[in-house]
């Protein structure tokens, strides 16, 4: 039975009046974490936008139990919390909520370590494709051609493929999600919470401030990423790759929207050359071919 809005918990875990920018994708994602995991969730949050969203002490804009930690230590701290909870015999889901910088760049060492030890935690990478909190600097998950304050003429290197890197660690569960498909994300979170071992979920989160589009278009932009095939929703469970239902129609290349429709609505791709657009299109095609080969 697919989930409906009626099945979702109506309790607020993201409280009104928090400090996020208007149209923030991270708070949308955090609301879904609350709906999926509820009171069982313990969040470990390294430096990033979500540290700011909580607002100033003594108040917090998020109603989860949260440990705010230094950038590189998130997964190590989470491993410790998970071990302590197991000794105490408490049923909780220790979740790392990290940005793309804290996942793919600075936090990668502890992430890879925790994955290799197969710690019983969920790592959610909320990927807004740059260091937005400090003022839009490039990360290794910024796509090719994108403007940031440290890549004035567009980034020259392609985006690192984190989901497949994590799948290569041989962890029990790896998935990708998008804020535009909440039911898919919530189902994946619930599934991850039921699996023992290391779980990695990569959440695509378009940031209106850093990507230069109107705050009202956050969800539309995330949906366009799926429809153009530049972001693919999939799961790798016990080594088996499956494309998730929202992405399935786009396995057929003719049903995908041209990638330029996604790019031209974002100010960060304003100076993208036609050559790079073709290059991106080719990359999308290659990635789909690889995924279809893996999932067949």
């Amino acid at each position: 039975m697919p989930l409906t809005i009626r099945d979702l918990a109506k309790e607020k875990y993201v409280l009104p009046g928090h400090a996020a920018c208007p149209g923030c994708p991270e708070t949308i994602g955090l609301r879904y974490v609350g709906m999926a995991l509820g009171r069982k969730a313990i969040l470990v949050i390294p430096a990033g936008c979500t540290s700011i969203i909580q607002g100033l002490m003594p108040g917090s804009g998020l109603a989860f139990p949260i440990i705010n930690v230094a950038f590189a230590s998130a997964d190590a701290v989470a491993s410790g919390v998970a071990a302590a909870k197991e000794v105490l015999g408490e049923d909780s889901v220790v979740t790392v909520w990290a940005g793309d910088g804290a996942t793919a760049d600075i936090g990668f060492a502890t992430l890879s370590g925790a994955a290799e030890r197969n710690e019983n935690i969920i790592h959610i990478c909320v990927d807004n494709e740059a260091y937005m909190n400090t003022g839009i600097q490039r990360s290794s998950l910024t796509p090719i051609g994108a403007w940031t304050t440290t890549t004035w003429k567009g980034k020259t290197e392609p985006k690192k493929n984190m989901p497949l890197i994590m799948a290569s660690h041989g962890v029990p569960y790896v998935a990708t999600a998008s804020i535009a498909y909440p039911m898919d994300f919530i189902e994946k979170l619930k599934k991850a919470a039921s699996i023992r071992g290391f779980k990695y979920i990569h959440l695509h989160a378009p940031c209106p401030v850093g990507w230069r589009f109107d705050p009202s278009e956050t969800v539309e932009m995330a949906r366009l990423a799926i429809e153009t095939g530049i972001w693919v929703l999939m799961e790798v469970e016990g080594g088996r790759t499956t494309i998730s239902p929202p992405s399935r129609p786009y396995a057929d290349k003719s049903r995908r929207k041209p990638v330029i429709e996604y790019l031209k609505r974002q100010g960060r791709f304003r100076e993208l050359s036609d050559e790079l657009v073709r290059e991106l299109e080719r990359e999308i095609d290659e990635y789909w071919k690889l995924l279809l080969k893996l999932s067949s």
């Binding site: 009046g17 149209g23 708070t27 949308i28 607002g55 009202s216 956050t218």
Partner: protein
Amino acid sequence: MKRDELILPLSRPKVGVQGTTGSWRIRKPVINYSKCIGCGICWLYCPDSTIDIEDTGSRFRVSIDYTYCKGCGICWTVCPVKAIDMVKEV
């Protein structure tokens, strides 16, 4: 040191931690209840939890908390029947 004397940097959940964020708004979403079909999609996508939802049996009744709504307009773009209008704040 007694336990009471320990000062821990602990925060407690609080509504309006950043003040009344409704003052950030430059445009205001207004629900047209004659068009609203009560699907709850605006509630699902609201990044600020400022849309309240009430189950009335066959459909949902949604309302906006203007004290904290930042006026991003996501509800306006995701509404399947265009029942939300963005009105300029005065």
